[in-house]
């Protein structure tokens, strides 16, 4: 009976509506899935980049969280340890060492390389933001709490989050600048 109560409690905890300040504890179960790894770039001594597609990596823990009455599957990769901290100087995806949490945003049962969120950064689930509070050392639970940070993160199937940038000639570009027009957004670097 105690086991049944703890399972029921765990299931209840995942149904707490987002927007409340309570931490959401998500029990994770063992699973086997793969997802594409992000691209790895190495720079040689002459400054020449080489771009490598790393092999798919395994997702071994799966849980579920409900946000705004919509259920999302979340996954953890196979790892020797899990971390909420990024020890690199840069939060960019090439260097970030915190755990990459995968969220099946479009509920298609597949994880694509754009459905990952670093544990040290705000995590978008649906149209709400969360912060990772804890990942159990063995991966069998994840704790999130609603974040007060503004909506961020581009998610396929969802509206683009608010953003504001400036061009070199001082023009402001926001998510409303091209309202009514299709936009192709390219993130790159001149350097």
């Amino acid at each position: 009976m105690i086991k049944d109560l703890s399972i029921a409690f765990a299931a209840f905890m995942t149904l707490i509506p987002a927007g409340q300040s309570e931490t959401i504890r998500i029990p994770m179960k063992a699973c086997r899935l793969t997802r594409p790894a992000r691209i790895d770039i190495k720079i040689d001594k002459k400054g020449n980049p080489s771009i490598n597609q790393k092999p798919d990596f395994q997702l071994v823990w799966k849980g579920s969280v409900t946000v705004d009455r919509e259920s999302f599957d979340i996954y953890l990769p196979r790892a020797g340890s899990y971390s909420l901290k990024n020890t690199a100087k840069d939060d960019g995806d090439l260097y970030n060492t915190s755990t990459l949490i995968s969220i099946d945003s479009n509920h298609d049962g597949r994880l694509t390389e754009d459905e990952g969120w670093f544990a040290n950064l705000p995590i978008r689930i649906g149209d709400k933001m969360f912060e990772a509070v804890q990942i159990a050392p063995n991966g069998n639970s994840v704790e999130l709490k609603p974040s007060a940070k503004p909506l961020s993160g581009i998610v396929v199937g969802r509206k683009i989050p608010p953003f504001a940038y400036k061009s070199r000639d001082g023009k402001s570009v926001t998510q409303d600048t091209y309202k009514g027009k299709a936009v192709l957004l390219d993130v790159w670097s001149v350097t």
Binding site: E113, S152, F163, S167, K179, L185
Partner: protein, 83 residues
């Protein structure tokens, strides 16, 4: 539009490189800068520097991490649906 993740966007090197490329006539869209470079782009947009993002006229994201060879079919579908 493009979002340049280069740090130090006020540097002369970056200014000159953009100017050179625009003078070649191949760059006609706005290029904006994230003051925190790719790290800032990751925080604000959760987008890596590879692949494109396609946004529909209503602001809905249709694709992310789109490779160049997949762009045209997606645009065809978008504009066909709009007719």
């Amino acid at each position: 539009m493009s979002v340049d993740g280069a740090l130090g966007f006020e540097s002369d090197y970056v200014k000159n490189r953009e100017k050179q490329i625009r003078q070649q006539g191949a760059w006609t869209w706005p290029n904006v800068y994230d003051p925190q470079g790719f790290a800032g782009v990751m925080r604000r947009l959760n987008v890596s520097g590879y692949g494109l993002v396609l946004i529909a006229p209503d602001g809905k994201v249709l694709g992310k991490g789109i490779r160049m060879d997949s762009v045209e079919p997606m645009l065809d579908r978008l504009f066909t649906a709009a007719k």
